[in-house]
């Protein structure tokens, strides 16, 4: 069976004025044009009154171009840039809470944590909460490997955040 083709994705970084309703306007723009957002993160930036928003969405270069232009039209959006794996540092954080039935389970998860250099942030006789940091792919593979050993009770992911590699930056001039 041929492998199903993966839907192309792109990553957009915005610098936006921090007004109420801005996130709604940005997310609404994707929804209105029928584009699937796979991740959305936003919080304050280095400049007061401005937030940095990083989004991942499904679509090819044509979709990206339209989104790029539409984002630029939003009055609160000051900067729009695309980020690619070879020009950007990308990170995601996941918190994974797993069920631990016995010592065998615990040992299995601990050895996986070693390989992935995860931190255990909380532990009880029945659960273990693990902090995984890295690329989206790394988190995906940890999740699939740990599922082979134990049951995931809860999973929370931040979505990707990213900055340009090196001296390139997206800031207000």
């Amino acid at each position: 069976m041929a492998k199903a083709e993966k839907t192309p994705e792109f990553l957009v970084a915005l610098l936006v004025e921090d007004h109420p309703g801005v996130t709604m306007k940005i997310a609404g723009m994707f929804a209105r044009r029928g584009i699937n957002l796979t991740s959305f993160t936003g919080a304050s930036s280095e400049k007061k009154g401005f937030s940095r928003i990083i989004m991942k969405a499904e679509g090819d270069s044509k979709v990206f171009e339209q989104i790029y232009k539409q984002m630029n039209k939003l009055i609160e959006v000051v900067k729009v840039k695309t980020l690619l794996p070879d020009n950007a540092i990308m990170r995601e954080l996941a918190l994974v809470k797993v069920d631990i039935k016995d010592a065998i389970d615990r040992q299995a998860v601990i050895s996986l944590n070693d390989i992935f250099r995860n931190r255990v942030t909380n532990i009880t006789p029945k659960t273990m909460t693990i902090e995984v940091v890295g690329s989206t792919g790394k988190i995906d593979s940890f999740v699939s490997l740990v599922t082979e050993q134990v049951n995931i009770r809860e999973l929370a992911r931040t979505g990707t955040i990213a900055l340009y590699r090196g001296e390139d930056s997206i800031f207000m001039d």
Binding site: G21, M24, G28, E65, K73, I75
Partner: protein, 622 residues
């Protein structure tokens, strides 16, 4: 008291708004009051510098502001109360958004302390207007008010214009502003810098000219942007310099004189055959300020030039370029600035030589293509005893002055007007293009008349559309605004009936406005009597020979006059493109499916083809 310096009283929120509006010259306001906007109405009460026109519905207030804006080229302003007042405005905002009209709309809102509590007449207008405005604001501090109003007016009327909505809590209107300068001298919008012209655009224009001058059959497509940026002189100059045809979208009617030898008229679903033919034969399309809506392009795979033409697209909104039609040469610029530069470059090329060398062969056929351009004068009645809509256009065209303004509702009557009437000046044809809003026409005509009191304003309405906002008859009576209303009564939601006839096997579901009771055909209302109820005069016309006189009577009348024309029930506005069909396909006047090439010949491309070629038309006019 002698030491105490007299302190300047602090301005309230409503005083700030009034001041900003007056200082910017926006003193005509279309609105409707209610609890949450009472402070502002109170502020302008008795101020003879402000003209407040009380419409009878908030939707009308929005459309009237748009009619005013479109006729004048200025900002249109409207205001409503919170909740239902503001939600009633949504359709008008959407209409202005799709037709890029500069509108400032503000609505009262419940007090800031109540927002989010589902208070009486509270509605989330920021959420509701988001998708249909260029921008919106919720004012949360009276110190922001002056800046927000200035920004809103700037955003609404620059770049690609559009409606801007301001949500205005009642307590903010009443609050006093402690700032020394409640209205800032300058505004600085970091995220809003419309790209109206750049050096890069200048270089692209050089490339564009090369493409156009090397082409055999280049065509200019003018869109509403040409009208919005007031680029009509430049457009005409370009056509004169290059001697190539200009076709237009319906929002661009009037940007070039319809009698100009190179002006072919509108393209698209209800466009002119010769225009659709020209674009089907084009090898380069120079599109200016249009957004390639599906009503214009037909089947995208065959657009333009059967899918083989190169496309140059000039638009101030970069997001429009490449959105629907792949573009070979994008130029992000204001239409007027781009055309000024284009004409400058052509004149420079022309230099001392008298003639400009282009490869275009259009000049050989253009005259023949423009032959037989008259509106048919059908004096007989139709098989069902009605007057043909063409006849209404014929008579109206005869009586119209070139500076008269035509406003339409939406439906067949709109397309008859766009198809047949001749426009000689920009901003003389006002219609709902992008959204196609029935009910737009009458209030927009009111706004147009307020903007241009010395021009005759003619409303062309259908019997369906007029009923969406016919209550505005009270407004024209109260404010003494004269609109010459022509209601084409075909007893149907005609445009939908036409589609049912052509595509739904004549199953006329929900489109008949008349009915049969006790074996008798009935129709209500009687539009002339409806006018009488509002204190207006009118005339019903059932005899085609009496049309001209009725139009004269309306023109001579001192106030709004209603002409109800009994038009032919079954008449269809043809030719039209089949939905989804290519620009070269059509239903002809007999309702048969044809190709444009049943009427026009493929144009020659080589010298040998040229030798054989005698006439553009398959059946030349004798």
């Amino acid at each position: 008291m002698k030491d105490q310096k007299k302190k300047k009283p602090l301005l309230t929120g409503t005083a700030i708004i009034k001041k900003v509006l007056k200082e910017s010259g926006n003193t005509t306001l279309f609105g409707y009051p209610g609890g949450a906007i009472m402070p502002f109405f109170d502020e302008i009460f008795g101020d003879n510098k402000i003209r407040q026109i009380l419409m009878r519905h908030e939707q009308s207030a929005g459309h009237a502001a748009e009619g005013y804006a479109t006729a004048s080229g200025k900002l249109g302003v409207c205001m409503t109360t919170s909740g239902p007042g503001a939600t009633n405005l949504i359709t008008a905002l959407a209409n202005a958004f799709y037709d890029s009209a500069p509108i400032l709309a503000f609505s009262g809102q419940v007090n800031t302390s109540l927002i989010g509590n589902d208070a009486f007449q509270e509605a989330d207008l920021i959420g509701a207007t988001m998708a249909v405005t260029k921008h919106n604001y919720l004012v949360k501090d009276v110190r922001d008010l002056g800046r927000i109003f200035k920004e809103a007016m700037h955003i609404a009327s620059t770049g690609r214009p559009g409606p801007v909505f301001i949500d205005l809590p009642k307590d903010i209107q009443l609050a006093e502003c402690s700032l020394k300068e409640p209205i800032p001298e300058k505004i600085n919008l970091v995220g809003y810098k419309p790209n109206v012209y750049s050096k890069a655009a200048g270089r692209q224009i050089t490339h564009a000219l090369k493409m156009v001058m090397n082409a055999r059959y280049p065509v200019i497509l003018a869109g509403g942007g040409v009208s919005i940026s007031n680029a009509y002189q430049q457009l005409t100059e370009l056509a004169n310099l290059l001697k190539i045809p200009v076709v237009s979208t319906i929002k661009a009617k009037g940007v070039i004189d319809d009698y100009h030898p190179y002006a072919l008229g509108a393209i698209g679903m209800h466009g002119r055959q010769r225009s659709n033919f020209a674009v089907s034969e084009a090898d380069v399309l120079l599109a200016i300020g249009c957004r390639f809506s599906d009503r214009i392009t037909g089947d995208l795979d065959k657009f333009p030039g059967q899918g083989n033409a190169k496309v140059i697209h000039i638009d101030v909104d970069a997001a429009e370029i490449g959105k629907n039609v792949p573009v070979d040469l994008p130029i992000v610029a204001d239409a007027k600035l781009a055309l000024i530069e284009m004409n400058r470059q052509i004149r420079a090329l022309k230099g001392k030589k008298k003639e400009l060398k282009t490869n275009s062969w259009w000049y050989r056929w253009i005259k023949e293509m423009k032959e037989n351009d008259q509106i048919p004068n059908i004096v007989e009645k139709g098989p069902e005893g009605g007057i043909y809509p063409e006849k209404v256009m014929y008579e109206l065209d005869r009586i119209m002055n070139p500076r008269d303004i035509i406003v339409t509702e939406v439906g067949q009557h709109q397309m008859y007007a766009a198809h047949y009437l001749k426009f000689r000046h920009p901003r003389t044809f006002i219609t709902s293009g992008g959204l196609g809003t029935m009910g737009f026409g009458f209030p927009a005509a009111i706004g147009a008349k307020v903007a241009k009191p010395r021009s005759e304003v003619w409303l062309i309405a259908g019997d369906g559309s007029i009923q969406m906002n016919s209550h505005e008859m009270a407004t024209v009576k109260q404010h003494n605004i004269k609109v010459n209303m022509i209601i084409l009564n075909n007893g149907y939601l005609g445009m939908v009936r036409q589609w049912q006839e052509l595509f739904n096997e004549k199953r006329y579901a929900g489109t008949g406005l008349g009915f049969v009771r006790n074996g008798k055909q009935e129709y209500w209302p009687d539009f002339v009597k409806l006018g009488e109820a509002y204190g207006l005069k009118g005339r019903k016309v059932t005899d085609p020979r009496k049309l001209g006189k009725a139009l004269q009577e309306a023109k001579a009348s001192k106030e709004t006059f209603i002409i109800e024309v009994a038009t032919e029930k079954g008449s269809n506005v043809l030719p039209m493109l089949p939905p989804g069909g290519a620009l070269s396909s059509l239903y002809n006047r007999e309702g048969e499916q044809k190709s444009i090439y049943d009427y026009y010949r493929r144009l020659p491309r080589t010298d040998s083809e040229l030798k054989e070629f005698k006439s553009v038309r398959v059946n030349p006019i004798k």
